[in-house]
């Protein structure tokens, strides 16, 4: 039996990637797309050979097994809570929400409705990251001292630079991916974070943080840094990166999650860019979501994982305000 999936909103850039993956994974039936932009939803529905839905309710009334929520961050709560009433499986784009209270409410509503909530952290499915996890599980690195990490990218513009809709700029956008990986690697938590944040550093015309550097300590003793900046200029060969440099007692492990790639020079105007090859991390995420629906198992990346990652981003903003490291409680 094909798994029936609906897409709620085309706000997030990842929505188009997920649609491409949904078309590639066998035995998935895309039942419809809703977006509040009528033209966009109709053009996209036509392109992916599915129905354009007039409202979120219209999409949910088609009884999909799973809904993927790709709306702007501030709308996640409303959309996930609506979906949870009718849809048993939900995949929500990161960050889970713009406040910890919203994130917790989403988890509670899903639990009460019996809906399983997964957060979209596709980088776990990058093959080099998965291999790093296996090496860490096998204790190949010995005692790990530090993790120097980057998740740099370009400035995505649009609602991402509107604090009301996004909850923040580069720091909320790019803290959560790597924090999720580190929590997952060691089944641990970030216990303290210090952050230097730049407001309008690359784009003074925008009142939003676009530079961020976090220094953190994990409960297992590992310390590290994370550059979350939207520092990749227009015309750069890649949208950005996820790079981890792990130093341990037995050796050094370097992970560059979005390699390998072809080098392509093409287009008008002509430019050189990286063209990743092999199945994308997004493909792995969609595979995993479909597998959860088919087997009825628990999500591999839970709402709690999404909330814990968000709390670190929020603590980074707080640290930049106070100029002090911020401790996070984990009861």
């Amino acid at each position: 039996m094909a798994v029936r999936i609906g897409l709620c909103s085309l706000d997030h850039l990842h929505a188009m990637s997920y649609l491409a993956c949904l078309a590639e994974v066998p035995d998935i039936d895309l039942v419809g797309i809703w977006d509040d932009d009528k033209k966009l939803r109709e053009a996209t529905a036509q392109r992916f050979n599915t129905q354009a839905c007039a409202s979120l309710q219209d999409l949910l009334d088609r009884n999909p097994d799973g809904v993927i929520v790709c709306s702007a961050n501030a709308l996640h709560r409303e959309h996930v809570e609506a979906a949870a009433q009718l849809t048993p499986y939900i995949l929500c784009e990161k960050p889970i929400a713009t406040s910890a209270a919203d994130g917790q409410a989403m988890i509670d509503v899903c639990q009460a409705a019996g809906a399983k909530l997964q957060i979209a952290f596709p980088v776990r499915f990058a093959p080099a990251v998965a291999e790093a996890k296996r090496m860490l599980d096998a204790n190949r690195l010995g005692r790990v001292y530090s993790a120097a990490c980057t998740n740099q990218g370009f400035n995505p513009g649009r609602w991402f630079v509107n604090r009301e809709q996004s909850g923040g700029g580069a720091v909320i956008d790019h803290t959560v991916h790597v924090v999720d990986l580190l929590r997952w690697f060691w089944d641990t938590e970030v216990v303290e974070v210090y952050a230097e944040i730049g407001l309008g550093f690359f784009r003074p015309d925008l009142d939003i943080d676009d530079a961020g550097l976090l220094s953190f300590r994990l409960a297992n003793g590992v310390y590290g840094t994370l550059d979350t900046s939207w520092s990749r200029p227009e015309g750069h060969h890649s949208w950005g990166n996820v790079i981890l440099e792990l130093v341990g007692s037995e050796g050094v492990l370097s992970v560059d999650a979005f390699r390998p790639h072809l080098d392509v020079t093409a287009g008008t105007p002509r430019r050189s860019y990286w063209h990743p090859w092999g199945r994308s991390p997004d493909h792995g995420l969609i595979d995993d979501f479909a597998d959860m629906i088919r087997t009825g198992r628990e999500p591999s990346i839970s709402g709690h994982d999404g909330l814990q990652a968000l709390r670190v981003a929020l603590a980074a903003y707080e640290s930049a305000q106070t100029g002090q490291p911020v401790a996070l409680d984990h009861d």
Binding site: P127, A128, F258, P260, A266
Partner: protein, 332 residues
Amino acid sequence: MHRVGIVGAGSISRVHAAAWARLPVELAGWHDVVPEAAVAAAERWGGRAFDVLEDLLAASDIVDVCTNVAAHPEPVLAAAHAGKTIVCEKPLARTVAQCEEILAVCTERQVPLFVAHVVRFFPEFEAAWRTVQAGTIGKPGMMRTVRAGGFPRMGGGAAARRYADFEQSGGVIMDVGIHDIDFHRWCMGEVERVFARGLLEAGVPECDHALLVLRFESGAIGHIEASWAHTPGRTRTHLEIAGDQGLVAWDSRDPASLSWRTRTDNMPMTRNTLQEADHPYFAELAHFLDCLDKGCEFRVTPHDALMAVKVSQAALHSIRTGQPVAIADFRD
């Protein structure tokens, strides 16, 4: 469920068996001219060991021929006459005439034949081909590939002696260069002529190397370096295709996604880890099964396999004669 019988229990058969194990087929068993090898393979991978080829054929729906190239025609023809679906490792056969005979019998018996030109299933090569297909680089004009490693010593056993025996292996062009010849044809269309130089008759023991210049019917030009003369270790691959609107390139020396350096030895272990479904030998057999079940054409047609051998043989002929060789008129 399809029953798969594997002929030839050497190194490549183990790669195939690992891929079959992840696919919805039943492994019927093994046949090898060395019966103990079939027994050992059956113990490791499952299925029965068959002393007689015909008994394996009778127990199989799909016959996967993994013998050395000189020993391809006998089991392939036997399987075709028995009406079995055939997977055959590359190259299809040692000579053009043998390939033509195999194609004729498979056509007559209406037997599907898939030749495992695995490079078309390497994700980096497939992605480059897709880039060309999508028109991203415009009309392709120059194409260059390199596949360079050390001599295949294979632990010094019988397989290594076969590689060193040109009559059996066809040397580096038939074993290595043929990958690129097939990939060039896939991207650029039919080859018009080939000119080649190499170590074919240079008398260097346990070493072979060739540089091929191809001209395609489209007017495009191709370059292939095929080497058993480089240093041992991981084979280096390089690829670039230049079109009138752009360029696509890849090199296995590019930094990898994963790199691991231990404190005791500073030799980095670097690797581009793949998602399971992207492993090329799995991908090619999954593709084969999918096409078989849906009745659609294989990515590698029997004609493609024949032409890869024909261009390879023409390149060898060019080295011997010092002359360019036109493909359309070429005979062994």
